[in-house]
Symmetry: C2
Subunit: 283 residues, 2 copies
């Protein structure tokens, strides 16, 4: 394509920006690609920014200077967030999810790439300003959630494992006690998978007592990492947690194995500072 009309330019720019959140694209790269003046590119970006802002689906950040450019930071408005989470709550209350011991079958939800993509965008809004270096999770069920966040924040995923395999090189291992079952578990992380002093966001699917997250925090101390946030898709109202200050998207308030009943509500995410203004405007 030699000559680009504004309409074609807009389509291509939105594609490039949204396809790789947080990638910094120099304005000169756009100007060169479209054979357009920088002032035209700036006008295009204003149009894109206005639509994103109106739809609360993120924003463009323009950085000046030689190493500057523009990048897309994904977000999700309160209304859309509540719609996504209401659907998740509804799916979680299906009594067929109840497994022996009061566990919940969730593999279908964790296998749904559309749901995960939406949840990733919600976490990107909550943790987008936390200067995160890496997303840390634990095998197996936390992995898809971690990637959904990682895509939206353009940060690497690091996976803590229950056992060590030959293809990881030297590993650091800690012992931890599962808060709910009281059983001992070993958590391991390959030495070369996380640089010392990283700022990390912990992501997991489910928190009951928080023993696993507690163990992950202990393990990360060996890497001198700073845990700047913890996010779980589902937590439970009991028992008391071994971890403070985590963000849950949904909360299981009741699992009645005998009566085949599950109750699920929104988690504590709307108590986070990032939603404060929007809470006020609701009232």
């Amino acid at each position: 394509m030699e000559k680009w009309k504004r309409s074609a330019r807009l389509v291509d720019m939105v594609h490039q920006l949204l396809n790789e959140p947080y990638r910094l694209i120099p304005l000169t790269a756009f100007a060169k690609r479209y054979h357009a003046a920088k002032s035209s590119i700036s006008e295009d970006l204003t149009i894109i920014q206005e639509v994103l802002h109106a739809e609360e689906s993120g924003q463009l950040e323009t950085m000046a200077g030689a190493s500057g450019g523009v990048r897309y930071m994904p977000s999700m408005g309160m209304e859309e967030t509540k719609t996504v989470l209401a659907q998740l709550c509804h799916k979680l209350t299906n009594p067929e999810r109840i497994l022996p011991g009061g566990f919940l079958f969730m593999s279908d939800l964790l296998g749904d790439p559309v749901l995960l993509h939406h949840l990733g965008r919600i976490w990107a809004k909550i943790f987008g300003t936390s200067q995160i270096d890496a997303i840390v999770t634990i095998e197996t069920k936390g992995i898809p959630l971690a990637y959904a966040v990682a895509f939206h924040l353009r940060k690497p995923v690091v996976i803590v494992r229950y056992d060590t395999t030959v293809t990881e090189g030297s590993v650091v291992t800690v012992n931890t006690v599962s808060g709910s079952s009281g059983r001992m578990k070993q958590l391991s992380l390959a030495r070369r998978s996380l640089p010392k002093g990283s700022r990390v966001l912990l992501i997991d699917d489910y928190m009951k007592a928080g023993g696993t997250v507690r163990g992950m925090i202990d393990l990360l101390r060996e890497f001198e990492a700073e845990v700047v946030g913890v996010g779980v898709m589902v937590d439970s109202i009991v028992p008391e947690k071994l971890v403070d200050g985590y963000v849950s998207l949904t909360t299981v308030t009741e699992v009645d194995e005998k009566e085949k009943r599950i109750n699920v509500e929104f988690g504590n995410l709307f108590d986070q500072g990032v939603y404060n203004n929007e809470n006020h405007s609701d009232q």
Copy 2:
């Protein structure tokens, strides 16, 4: 936003279409959202389609009728594919990846959400017309790749596990022999995680002899599933494979532990039918 100009409409439509590949959006939904005539929406879609086509980054498919609409099918052109895979090959040849036994450290690559997103788009091009019902992979390293494909094809991910946990319900288990090590392994899949008769795409990170994929195919037979494709990020030129007709993105042709040398080439993907026309136009 009450009134939408064409430029704003284009930005919003591209966002909606590209944010959820393969989601069918009724034209009436667009018309209503933008207070625009269907003919204007059709013109907008033509503009979007022209840009996607010119950049070889996918296409729009419009389906007529009451249940019709438009959806975005992602793709990637030959040139961009070769650029992505050349970077992957380059990273794989780093001699520091060599672990004892000739294994390769790849966790950093499998933790890179941008690389994974690109690889997902490549596989979406190769398998996009295969009428896939589910993407099946095996814990742990195949999971991020499977999700990258699943996002681009809007299909669920199903994870085969080495051990069964209490939160899966009833499971089907098969025994298999690792082709390279000769060791016995147990592969399990929750009964309720895959409907009988599904058409599945198998995705994994690495294939040496193919024993694990062979075992997964045996396991899927218990679900009366049809394996319509197998894709691996990396395969090796030796030993001979236990599986035919799989697609590899890259191929390790040499790992010299002593000399600290790795050679990696493009895989067999360009031999696939989907690249035929493009191969010809190259000549």
